[in-house]
Amino acid sequence: MNAEFKLFNISKRYGQREVLNIDNLEIGGGRIYCILGPNGAGKTTLFRIMSLLTLNDTGKIHVLGEEVTWQKNQVVRLRRKMAMVTQTSFMFEGSVYYNVAYGLRVRNTPAAEERKTVNESLELLGMMDFINQPARNLSGGERQKVAIARALAVKPRVLFLDEPTSNIDPASALDIERYIQYINKEMGTTIIMVTHNLFQARRLSEEIFFMWEGKIIEKGESEELFEHAQDKRTRSFIKGEIVF
């Protein structure tokens, strides 16, 4: 299978500080991938570059089989094959329906199809009862479910999850983990997630990329990496000796 993402010599600086420097990275498709690493390792920057929200300073990036030229139309076309859920799960002012329908509206989806897709997405996440409620009045867990429903409504090929359960209670977190697995296995969506939760990373991911000071220092199958990490920094992080 062709890689969904290929990155060559990608770097990014903020002022004098280099936050990302990746020689070569390929991420395939159809699996749950996890990017691990302490704070400041460059996970979010890598995430933002892959989801075409931040421009890389150097290097080339291929997304879903295309080299990214950052031409306006191409960026929008590629972004429309992906979706993202952030840890704060920002909600637009308006109802849950408005939020879930947003991605469909910007694609000029006919009203009947929009209604059907919104209902399906909310039903899948068990959030139909909230459809007409103001989205900003929801609890953290409810918001996160609506954010996932909103992302699913546009039927993405790749779903980015940035700390999807960091601000919510354990019961809701487990619920969301189940949905993530369902979306991957039943809908075939590639999932790329960033998490600080090692248990969650082990439970969910099939492949792990471990980042340190802007570089990917180790990658491999999830179980293999948790059991037999080669790099001592990875081992320390997995053992909990390096906390964030």
């Binding site: 929008v76 992906m82 979706a83 952030t86 637009f92 002012e93 694609r107 546009v154 980015f160």
Partner: protein, 239 residues
């Protein structure tokens, strides 16, 4: 105190009696200030959004000039319009001095920087997440910009109400370019000045009450356009 009570009483009587002259003055006040506000909004909201979102050389200077002009003295705005529209001015040919058009022009000069500057502040106050969320859901730049404006609408409404407050209560500019001509360019604020100069303090106060009522009704209309009332406004709960 007698003058104040007398003024309040007269104010009620004026409102109830619907005096034709007062009605005409009130309608002209509304026409001038609302027209100026609409023009200021048509120009100020898009320009404020561009100043907030678009990076280009001179952006900060333009923003600083806008903020400075938010405090433009009405008399100075009147003077500028006067210099352009007077018979010896570059636009004197159009003979617009002492007409409602001149008054609207002067008020646009006062309202535009307020709408533009406060819109820019409201848009700049939005978090990066608004764009990110819209973009990752497939919005084009234009669609994402629109959603940023939508998210800023409380701030933009505040910009419009602030501008209206300044325009409806303003006297220096309309006096200078309108001339306070009875039946033609006399508005509520210039009437108050006239009545005060003539020593009719209670009448001046009564017209002031009408002015306040009109301002309140227009503000209410603007807020109801946003389907929000003072009651529904989000508040920080301090317990």
């Amino acid at each position: 105190m007698d003058v104040i009570w007398q003024g309040i009483k007269e104010g009620f009587l004026l409102i109830i009696a619907m005096d034709p002259e007062l009605v005409q003055i009130t309608l002209l006040s509304i026409q001038v200030s609302v027209s100026a506000l609409l023009l200021a909004a048509i120009m100020g909201i898009p320009l404020g959004t561009v100043l907030a979102l678009k990076e280009f050389p001179g952006r900060k200077t333009l923003l600083n000039i806008t903020y400075t002009f938010m405090g433009l003295p009405p008399v100075l705005a009147g003077l500028l319009v006067f210099l352009f529209l007077s018979t010896s001015g570059p636009l004197g040919y159009f003979q617009l001095m002492f007409t409602p058009t001149a008054m609207i022009t002067a008020q646009v000069l006062l309202g535009f920087p307020i709408v533009c500057g406060l819109t820019a502040r409201a848009v700049m106050a939005q978090p990066q997440e608004v764009f990110d969320t819209a973009a990752t859901l497939g919005a084009t730049r234009r669609q994402a910009s629109w959603v940023i404006i939508r998210e800023s609408r409380m701030g933009i409404i505040a910009a419009l109400t602030t501008a209206l407050g300044r325009l409806i209560a303003e006297v220096g500019a309309v006096m200078m370019v309108g001339g306070n001509i009875k039946g033609e360019t006399r508005v509520l604020t210039t009437s108050i000045v006239l009545e005060t100069r003539m020593g009719n303090d209670s009448s001046a106060l009564a017209i002031g009450m009408v002015l306040l009522l009109i301002a309140f009704l227009i503000m209410l209309l603007i807020l109801s356009l946003e389907k929000r009332t003072f009651k529904d406004e989000r508040r920080i709960q301090i317990v």
